[in-house]
Amino acid sequence: MSTTIEPAPLPLVKTARPERWRLLWPLAALALIVLFNLIVTPRFLSIEIKDGRLYGITIDIVRRGSQVILLAIGMTLVIATGGVDLSVGAVMAVSGAATATLVVEHHWSPAPAIGVGLVLSLLAGAWNGILVALLQLQPIVATLVLMVSGRGIAQLITTGQIITFENPTLVFLGSGSIWGLPFAVVLALATLAAVGLLVRKTAAGLFIESVGNNPTAARFAGVNERLVKVMAYTVSGLCAGLAGLVAAGEIKGADANKVGLYYELDAILAVVIGGTALAGGRFMLVGSVIGALIIQAVTTSILTGGLKPELTQVVKGIVVIGVCLLYSTKFRRAVMAPFGRRRA
């Protein structure tokens, strides 16, 4: 009996990278940047302790990067389901605005105010998830709605002003420190741990990856595809809310117009650099965190290198295209073709 004839399908888009090596590239990139900086600025890695706090360029990078780290954690889950969340910047503005306004204008104590800010961002995320999963809008379109109106809502809350505050608890969120470490960093790490536990100790991670990799097969295996998506966007909203609080605490005020502006790309970039494919499927939270650190390290290098700070945006834009080209099979084939021929 002959074997049945069935054209072997060409390999699908996504390239399978061996599990163990997946963090290698982002780590190598980070090491390279650190090395480069070490040569240019020899005191790059030095850390000193003043008043029980750690100071140094690396600490600064981690502290400044913490907002993007927070966003990237949520964004990772969304991208893993095959979607994208463009509203994270606007959601940051909403949570900061709500918390600051409640504390400053309505004299709430910080804890419930923070709670309200986070609940709002959670609802914003769930809203995105519902549009994507239940109304089945394309993720870009669905999250665009909140990207447009989110800032309007934030301005509505602050009645268009920049709400400044001195409340120590709120300030602590952005510039306080615990055990010598900036609180924002501790918060980002805690969020990483919490989301990591959420996805790896429950079935969420398995479900997200199967939905992102092959939604039909996942549905046929009984995975509740819609709930998975709603959850991912909700987590992303919540992470954006946390980042918004940190951002507000850092500048001691809620600026609905500027907070988190253009952070969407930073977060997407961090996820992509971290090795999670934009098409969805396998995701790596730690990779995304490294990605965020790489972005911040590059930014800091540009600043310490004496270049115009505005150039960082140009660099980020070019890097994101470069990384995506590296993952694009078409590009690899086009670039590798001459080498292949030479070898043959």
Partner: protein, 506 residues
């Protein structure tokens, strides 16, 4: 343009077409000839090489060897567009036009008449109306194509093909989503075109239509040409035998499970008059614990559609499903799984496996989704589960952590089987579980099916290989033209099934 003389000359001659994919010779030296003024059926089951041959002819694939002559000229179509410009046009089941543009535009896209450098709309609309009325179709050409039925969209596609000057028209399953009246109209048109001398290739799953309209039949099987026949000289039964073939299995004799006890156990699942428009009708099935029930029929006869209705993927619009004696609505696969169903889909690549995830994760997926989000199987438990099945059903993989995309077809199939076995279903629906896998793995999977039934599982077994249907099943439901037409029991032979598919007569 169609004013050729009616002569018995060849429009298309393909000789010795070979197309090889990694590991598979999809077309293995196929000859195929179409003459002027004939409607020629191209028949074959899954993997016969039918669609590969068509893709080579229409330029979607490049052949590895062989030659194609179009009216005596050697051609090598590089792309569908190129094939079209040479005179080979294809009309697909999914009409490949632009639904959001008007009928007239669809006829003239890319070659609109111009006046003073701009598109001359009124001339285009007149031209469109004229092109359609040549086919005796009269409609408002300014309306969007998408606002018309599939049948009319097909007419427009044919009109475009003819207007671009087709010498060979290929119709790929044109009647699948048409009702009887629409099929009638399409056939009238085809007969008119035949009279005008066009060569037409007609691909369909409906045997009745083949006998109704075609002059000649070419049958392919396993990438090879079985033969070319005059339709009127080929009885239905022989056609079916040619398509399904009969290959002697040297490796094992029939070892069907024991006949179920005289009084059959009460069925676990029972369907009455189950059906869905344009999918399948009148499906009465019942499966008792410990039984393997087969579903036989040609490709496109409604086998997969039946499985999809049962597993809650598509919603039936008539009939009911009774589980353990209580009528149940299965609105989603999740609901079906909760009732104790499992389903190995026919197309494991797009519907079965999660290619980037490991064997371990693929095996654990259904069990985990049944348990819910919170009660997660630990990695160690998943690992143990996967290792158990790797051993039990001989999955050839380096370890449980290998992504399933790296496994061979047969082993991917086993992983998906293992996924369901792990969740211990009461009814397992298997849609072509042995398709595209090697002989050894086939025998193993068949053995596994029988032993599962012995342990009390109900199994619904869909296969186009009659030999394994006969070997494994104690009863066989036969589908023809999307309707259940027969149920065989007792000592079933392959010939009996084929006779039933052919419709008793012939």
């Amino acid at each position: 343009m169609l004013r050729m003389k009616m002569t018995e000359t060849e429009v298309l001659q393909a000789r010795g077409i070979v197309k090889v994919f990694p590991g598979v010779r999809a077309c293995d030296g196929i000859d195929f000839t179409v003459r002027r003024g004939e409607i020629h059926a191209l028949m074959g089951e899954n993997g016969a090489g039918k669609s590969t041959l068509l893709k080579v002819l229409t330029g979607a694939y490049q052949r590895d060897s062989g030659e194609i002559l179009l009216e005596g000229q050697a051609i090598s179509p590089r792309s569908p567009a190129h094939a079209q410009s040479l005179g080979i046009s294809t009309v697909y089941q999914e009409v490949n036009l632009i639904p959001t543009l008007s009928v007239a535009e669809n006829l003239f896209l890319g070659r609109q008449p111009k006046k003073w450098g701009r598109i001359h709309w009124s001339a285009m609309q007149r031209g469109a109306a004229a092109a359609l009325s040549r086919l005796n179709v009269h409609l408002d050409v300014t309306r969007l194509l998408g606002s018309y039925s599939i049948a009319i969209q097909q007419m427009v596609a044919i009109a475009r093909a003819l207007d671009v000057s087709a010498r060979l028209l290929i119709l790929d399953e044109p009647t699948s989503s048409l009702d009887a009246d629409e099929v009638r109209r399409l056939f009238d048109l085809l007969m008119q075109l035949r009279r005008e001398g066009l060569g037409i290739v007609f691909v369909t799953h409906f045997l009745g239509q083949v006998y109704e309209i075609t002059d000649r039949i070419t049958v392919l099987r396993n990438g090879k040409l079985v033969g070319e026949y005059l339709t009127k000289d080929l009885p239905k039964l022989e056609l079916i035998q040619a398509m399904m073939g009969r290959e002697l299995a040297a490796f094992e004799l029939r070892q069907r499970g024991d006949e179920p006890p005289a009084a059959r156990a009460t069925p676990f699942v029972q369907t009455t008059k189950l059906g869905r428009k344009h999918a399948v009708q009148d499906v009465d099935l019942d499966v008792a614990p410990g039984e393997v029930v087969g579903i036989a029929g040609l490709l496109g006869s409604g086998r997969t559609e039946t499985a999809r209705l049962l597993f809650g993927i598509d919603k039936p619009d008539e009939g009911e499903i009774v589980i353990d004696g209580r009528p149940t609505k299965l609105s989603s696969p999740r609901k079906a799984i909760r009732e104790g169903f499992g389903f190995c889909p026919e197309d494991r690549k797009t519907e079965g496996m999660i290619p980037d995830l490991s064997v371990r994760e693929n095996v654990a997926l259904a069990l985990q989704s049944g348990k819910g989000w919170i009660r997660a199987l630990s990695k160690a438990k998943q690992r143990a589960l996967a290792d158990r099945f790797i051993k039990a059903i001989n999955i050839a993989t380096r370890d449980a952590e290998t992504p399933v995309r790296n496994l061979s077809g047969g082993n991917q199939q086993k992983v998906i089987l293992a996924r369901w076995l792990a969740s211990n279903p009461r009814l397992l629906i298997l849609d072509e579980p042995t398709r595209g896998i090697d002989v050894g793995a086939k025998a193993e999977i068949q053995k596994l099916i029988l032993s599962l039934a012995k342990e009390g599982m109900s199994i619904l077994f869909i296969s186009s290989e009659l030999e394994e249907v006969v070997r494994c099943c104690s009863r066989v439901a036969v589908l023809r033209d999307r309707r259940k037409v027969d149920e065989l029991r007792g000592d079933i032979s392959e010939e009996q099934i084929m006779r039933s598919i052919a419709g008793g007569a012939a």
